[in-house]
Symmetry: C2
Subunit: 468 residues, 2 copies
């Protein structure tokens, strides 16, 4: 783990190049006055609706709070998210809170254009109103963020901590968010594993400016630790450790994947070496046409095996961990059975698709099985007895200290292997197991070519051709 | 390293089964009286020829010595080897010894049916006489085996040590030698890497009987150490360590390969579990016919690549280490370039042939190159600059902490890889390098099928179908 030291916390590069870039980028990403006014209006309207509804239900113990980037002027132009929390006294039971908040928030939601019930750790309501995406979230009004009753109880503390310190650095947060978005490392949902908004704000608070965040990130290594208020109590085995200033036990960057962490380091290195506005422009991938895809696959020369099943109706943060687990587990099973796995991917819309790109979908019948060392006498005997003169045995020899049998391979195609192992040995989360048990298909290049979803072909374009 | 302890040195299994096997096997492997008489006659004749020739040249300082199994009655029936050493005083220079011994021994050799000059560490003469294979070897008459001037000077000491202790156990040596021969672990030439005659004799001296050698060997592990006279002065990192009773620094089993060591342990375990005369009968492999070979290859489904070049005119003990080095080195190069290597083999007659059995001789164009971790910033930059937008690049991404490029594979066939690397990167010993530089061919299944040598097809049968 590296130390908490900052290379140059106060040294804000005041280089003309950086200033020029800021001047060019900021007007495009800073919300316009019109956007601000509109957001404030919708926010006010909703807060009022909450208060009125609470009054109607005689719930005078609740307090509505606006949290999130909308509250701290760190939202990117074009982003229309509003997060409104409704806090209940700590003494209220979880059950009572859920019942009461449901009644309250559904009433509020009806004032919107559409709404739906959602679940993460606990229920909340997502609504749209005048073009804004609004989350209405009930929480407990706890005394400290280290003493929460539900995961969301921390958010008001986060909001408060940032609000008190971010003033004057809002533009740096906007630059960092846009930079992270365009380079693919922003977004802490499980599917992405990137940086959260709160994390970007803490980095700007700590390092002082967008450029200083990047200058320091370029030198980060695994275990980089930042403890703004100096109150860390636990050690964390994560790529980046940013101790929550509102909770000494928590790593704000716990959900950041090693890949996204490394990606940010790399892009920070490249930006500091040749700063350029292009880093702030997200590369859009045009959906591949089937003929483009076929052409690419001809060049790659690899083969695809895909597993398809109906997508469980679950939020991405519930579904994707299960998909990734299955993807990894099947990838390991394929590799353990001698298939050379080049890439694995997971995609979900109405169907889930787990894709394996292999050097070859078929293997020759000859398989080498390395057995125990001769000095594990009992195991050696079992291995010998199993393969000696067995019908599937080509040869039985000793190589170095091990017994080695050459036998007829059981799974000569990736399809037969997956079909045999999927329900017996693969790692299946609850919802994915149910979906796979209901039925699945194993597909190849031809069936992939029949997929119509433009989102799939856009995703595929990125997977096959992305260059950081 | 395991200790010097013997499990049951004195406990000779007196089991009826063992006795029955001895009674059945020994008459077949013990030299007949006729054989003995004939060997003694040839030996005497040669010793006399040496003495007479020495007299003729006025060399009264030499002493002829009979060494080897012929001298200690531990030779197997049908074996017609005679080893005669001619010792020179220690004070004689190496040069003088070589000149004098050459004159002397060539005169003696002419009394035989045929003869040739041979080289190992120093020159000696091999001759045939009345059906016997005779080695005439000059050596120095040193005071002790730990103070030798040439490697062969030890042999008379070995012979002396064994002769004094083997009396009454000759049959056990014969059984052990025959057992080792038939199970493929006998023969200390580099090509084989098995047990030497001297080593088998020491094992019998130490453990007391054939059966006790096996009973103990069944429990051996890597590093098993035997120090008969308890005078070990160096530690050895070998599978089996048998300290030379005539030289405290030397491991008699230094040339024993891990594979042969393990093979002996395994076969000892199996013999002790189900003793059987079949263990004393060497399985002979009938040469494969081309159609049998093709049928086997159809079942295996693998592909062959072979490297052929003229065999350097060198003794096996010089040639094979170089062949094995090249075999290993090319195997590693193939594996490092994603070829799945199932087996590698080396064969030499008038041509050398190094064979690689691969899952496939061809690979898809897509190659994954894993680069440096992002925090090795300079290396990461070089890797990035090399592959970013390069013509051969499919994609450039970060996976975990590493930069990863998907590129067009340079070597899509094993043949092109070997042809490009053989002289540039492969490990080539002196004689093999010269031979390969003079020209080589890279062959496949069709060319292998054109090989006419019965020895090759016998060897191939064993390689493809052997079951221990």
């Amino acid at each position: 783990m590296t130390s908490n030291k900052k290379a140059n916390r106060e040294q804000v590069p005041n280089d003309a190049v950086f200033s020029k870039i800021r001047a060019e980028v900021l007007p495009k990403i800073r919300p316009s006055e019109t956007e601000r006014v509109k957001l404030e209006a919708v926010k006010a309207e909703l807060l009022e609706a909450i208060c009125k509804t609470a009054e109607k239900f005689h719930e005078d113990d609740i307090i509505p709070i606006s949290v999130g980037s909308a509250e701290r002027s760190t939202w990117l132009s074009g982003n229309h998210d509003i997060d409104l929390f409704v806090s209940y006294p700590e003494g209220v039971s979880r059950e009572e809170m859920e019942t009461r908040s449901r009644r309250l928030l559904m009433e509020v939601a009806k004032t919107g254009d559409s709404w739906e019930d959602r679940h993460s750790e606990h229920p909340y309501i997502h609504m749209t109103k005048s073009g804004f995406e609004v989350d209405l979230v009930p929480c407990f009004r706890v005394k400290s963020a280290s003493d929460i009753k539900s995961a969301v109880d921390r958010t008001p503390f986060h909001c408060c901590f940032v609000k008190e310190r971010i003033s004057g650095k809002e533009d740096d947060v906007l630059l960092l968010k846009q930079f992270m978005k365009s380079t693919g490392v922003y977004g802490s949902e499980v599917r992405n594993g990137g940086f959260s908004g709160y994390l970007t704000e803490l980095l700007v608070i700590w390092y002082g400016s967008f450029e200083n965040v990047l200058q320091n990130a370029a030198c980060w290594r695994f275990g980089q630790t930042i403890d703004i208020v100096g109150h860390q109590t636990l050690s964390h085995e994560d790529p980046l450790v940013v101790i929550d200033p509102t909770d000494p036990k928590r790593n704000v960057a716990a959900a950041l994947s090693l890949t996204r962490f490394a990606q940010f380091i790399n892009v920070a290195q490249r930006y500091m070496q040749s700063p350029n506005v292009d880093f702030f422009i997200k590369k859009e991938y045009a959906p591949l046409s089937v003929s483009e895809f076929k052409e690419i696959m001809k060049c790659r020369g690899t083969e695809w095996v895909g597993l398809v099943f109906d997508a469980p109706k679950k939020a991405d943060d519930t579904l994707y961990p299960q998909l990734f687990r299955l993807e990894n587990s099947l990838g390991e099973i394929l590799a353990a059975n001698d298939f050379a796995v080049m890439n694995t991917h997971s995609f979900a819309e109405n169907k889930c698709l787990i894709l394996f790109e292999l050097m070859s979908k078929t293997l020759p019948p000859l398989q080498k099985r390395v057995g125990p060392p001769v000095w594990a006498a009992d195991n050696a005997k079992s291995f010998y007895d199993k393969y000696k003169n067995a019908e599937e045995t080509f040869s039985l020899k000793i190589k170095n200290e091990f017994l080695v049998a050459e036998i007829v391979r059981k799974y000569q195609t990736a399809e037969s292997l997956i079909a045999d192992k999927i329900l017996k040995e693969a790692a299946l989360g609850r919802h994915v197991r149910a979906a796979v048990s209901d039925g699945y298909e194993i597909i190849g290049l031809d069936e992939i070519c029949e997929i119509k979803s433009p989102a799939f072909w856009k995703w595929m374009a990125e997977k096959l051709t992305k260059q950081i």
